[in-house]
């Protein structure tokens, strides 16, 4: 599985993003190849969410650009970016709490005229728990189920690139493993994934490649194995003493 074999799908080149006077991203450059899982690691406030939001069109870079499938997409508003096949699962389990699970999933297919029944079935196969609760209000789901629903809803938009922002946040280890397993399955079916995670060990074990973001800049990049072996990563994100190793 060499890198050269994959054509790039997403190219982020030198983007700077500001919130008013705050420069959240200074210059971020990375790429994601077709069919890859790429993990974006970094401490709290490093700018991971900001990067993803810029890719999905919720924010605009002040310099630099984002290209998807060879065409620039920075400046295109979020509801149009989704039409290109970039679906975003925002940080913090945003489901529609008073809609049923089924209605939530149908909202995911909002960009199409009709709900694709096959896609619906496929999502339910991926998340059997959701099938049991189709008529339940999404707000009454457990945290893990809500996260599954949020991912399922994004899948209903038939993404080519799926942006996942901390899908493991606040979940029990067993459920995290389950979700990561599902991400693998999703990827195996041909969806490219850009994954933001705090859970570095598991994320890197899953991802083909990874980048480390520090205060708005990429400081490291490489395959999952490389990063896992890197002392700095082990020190900062896996909590291991360098001296001990």
């Amino acid at each position: 599985m060499t890198e050269a074999a994959r054509p790039t799908l997403l190219d982020v080149v030198g983007i700077e993003v500001r919130y008013g006077a705050i420069r959240a991203l200074k210059s971020v450059t990375f790429n994601v190849g077709e069919g890859e899982i790429v993990a974006l690691l970094g401490a709290n406030g490093a700018g991971k969410t900001t990067t993803q939001k810029t890719v999905s069109g919720m924010l605009r870079p002040t310099t630099g650009y984002v290209a998807f499938d060879g065409a620039r997409i920075d400046g295109i508003p979020a509801h149009d970016v989704i039409r290109l096949g970039i679906c975003h699962v925002p940080e913090g389990r945003h489901v529609f709490p008073r809609m049923t699970v089924a209605e939530n999933l149908e909202m995911g297919a909002f960009r199409f005229r009709d709900v694709d029944k096959k896609e619906f079935e496929r999502v339910l196969e991926l998340f059997p728990r959701l099938r049991e609760r189709l008529k339940q209000q999404a707000g009454t789901l457990s945290g893990g189920e809500q996260q599954m629903l949020a991912i399922g809803r994004a899948l209903m938009g038939k993404p080519r690139l799926l942006l996942l922002d901390e899908p493991s946040m606040g979940l029990a280890p067993l459920v995290v493993a389950q979700i990561f397993e599902i991400i693998k399955e999703i990827n195996a079916s041909g969806v490219t994934v850009l994954l933001v995670e705090q859970n570095a060990a598991q994320a890197l074990a899953l991802a083909h490649r990874g980048y480390v973001l520090e205060t708005g800049e990429i400081v490291l990049g490489g395959t999952g194995q490389e990063l896992l072996a890197d002392d700095r990563v082990r020190a900062a994100y896996l909590g291991e003493e360098i001296a001990a190793s």
């Binding site: 489901v95 529609f96 809609m99 909002f110 707000g139 457990s142 809803r153 459920v175």
Partner: protein, 759 residues
Amino acid sequence: MTTLETPPTTTPTPPPPPPAMRRAGNETSRVLLKRLAGCLIGGFVLGLMVNSKEGSPDDFGFVFHQTALKPRMLIFLAIGVVIFAGITFWGYLRQHARRPGVRPLGMGILVIVVSQVVLNWYDPQTVKFNGLRKLVDKSSGLSSTTTWFFDWLSWTLVALSVVVTGAAIVTRRRVFGWVTTVLGIAGAVLAWTAHSDVLDLGGGIDHSLGAYGDVIGFLILAGAGATVALSQAEVADSRGFMTRVMEYRPGLPFAVLGAVLAAFSYARNCWFAPVNRNLDFAKTHDAYQGTDINSLASNYLGWLGWVCFVVVAVLTLAATYLRQRLLGWLAAGAALVATVLTFFSLKSMTDVAAKSVPQFGKSWNNLGAGGFTACISYGLFAAAAAYVIARPKTRAAGKSATLPVSRALEKARNSANMKALIVIALAVALFYPPMLSQYWQNVLVTQMAVYLLLAVGLNVVVGWAGLLDLGYIAFYAVGAYTTAYLTGSLPRKPPSWLHMTPLLTIPFAIVACLIAGVLLGAPTLRLRGDYLAIVTLGFGEIIQIVAQNNPGNFTNGPRGVEPPVPHPKLEIGGWKITWGLDNLPYWYLLLVMLAIVVVLFYRLENSRLGRAWAAIREDEVAAQASGVNTVRAKLLAFAIGASTSALAGTFFASQTGFFDPTQFDIFTSILIVAYVVFGGMGSLPGAMAGAAVLTWLPEFLKSQVPTDDRQMWVGALVLAMMIFRPAGLLPAKRRKAELSHLDEASPGEVSAIPRGGAM
């Protein structure tokens, strides 16, 4: 046991309670004191509310003295104490309060109390229950039961019912339940006969509602007694009960209700009430003997009316009992024919009366309630038929698994409920207004009609898109001024090719409001809830002030429009309708407008845009992530709401003819928000019901309570509503869920959710 030592007989002195507990004890007594004080003050205020005020606004002291220092105040303080006891011992009461029958008991008592305290009982003397009691005591010639009823019997019956039902619930003896039923029925009969007795002796035109309310209240009590007697359940399941009743024979309750009402209409109700006389159906027939009434009406009064009743009733009862779809259609058709016949007969009757005796007034005047109740009962029959027609195909459902059956049934029931409701509402909206007095027709058109439209429009903005717009009236003003301009009623005249009749201005008014909506919306819709509310509030004020200041001599400032906006006219080919000073035609014009708007909005609610609004309301980030163009959706909500108020503005301008900027003040804006919230945010029928009830109530209270107190009563109702039914009168499905606790899913869903799915 024998091996155990006997416990020491002397109990050791208990250790003093820990300090925390002692403090808690103090706290409870303080809470209790506060609660008692609150309840007493509440009772006192209620005492001030329920009283006829004397004196002028300058001498509040006198009025206060008059009300506060009378012995009757003790009664209200006692009510306060009862409420206090109720709250304090709620824990104990609650186990009984959830038993079947308690709710109807409370409702029956409430209805009776309202009937006997607030409502009028005898119009010729404009007296309430208490006033009538004094009159009855003074007059002779009434039967003694009537006197007793007013003197002590009715209240005694109420008190007895409470005690007996309470005993039935606590001791679980069925006999007591049946006793309450008997008491309730006796009360209803007594109230009815007592009131008729008074009418027979006193005569005169009486449209008072007190006695009817009383009868209904006592019947509810009877129902409560029967419920207690018949149920052994620990907890009331009224919804389940209703479901069982409706599932036994869908529509049958409606059919029975219709039959009872129709029988009453033809046998007992007043059909024609010229100067000081109340003629029932048969007497009306006699009165019209020999006049040049047309043959339809004469036959109707003679025999056709009865035939209509019998045919429709038999058909509907058969249809609902046999559950035959064909019969259902037949019944619905017959009901329609009967309604039309009734309607034309009534028209012919009043035409003749108006022609022969001018003092009788115009067409449609002097009718009693009978014709109307007959039409309503046909509406009920049609609604019953709708249930039969909407019934799901049982055979198809029977084959599949259990869950889909219940779902299909539920769906069918919902759609049938909807249909029944629509049929009844339409029957009332079409046939009731002609029978109203001039005064009420005026209220209907100048108050209710306009606000119905406005509430429906604002519901899009507030209820569906979740944008709190406190300056909604501004768009209404823009619409009204656009119409005034285009009809040449403002100082600045339009070019002659643009000069037009009011109805033609509608598209222009809509466009003007759309532009205003987008102009206001584009820069402000990125704001969050409260800021948006403030900005729109400001916008409302700005529009009013601009209209006052008369820029460029456009609005004519505080002098208002002149010459008056002409009344609408419609000419299609040779067919011509003109509206004038008469109110009724405006009502039908409004109904047409409202029908169009409601049908459009109903489709909108279930469209892509409607779903986008729902998503934005729920979670804006998630909506954006699902590909909803949030800014555009909000803007559209604003624009659609604005254009509805343009319609209302045009209607208002051409109906009143004259208006000035003071009519577009901020209070009206807030009032409309109140209508929408009261009716149920995000629910179309709710918005309409809210506007209808809250415009009707103040007018109704005019004749029931001192005028200055009206708003206080309205406020009390709104308050009570927000406490006991926070989702509104006819809540939207989703909003209801929003307000009840999320984890307490609605009964239909509970069984479907496995409890405690650990995850």
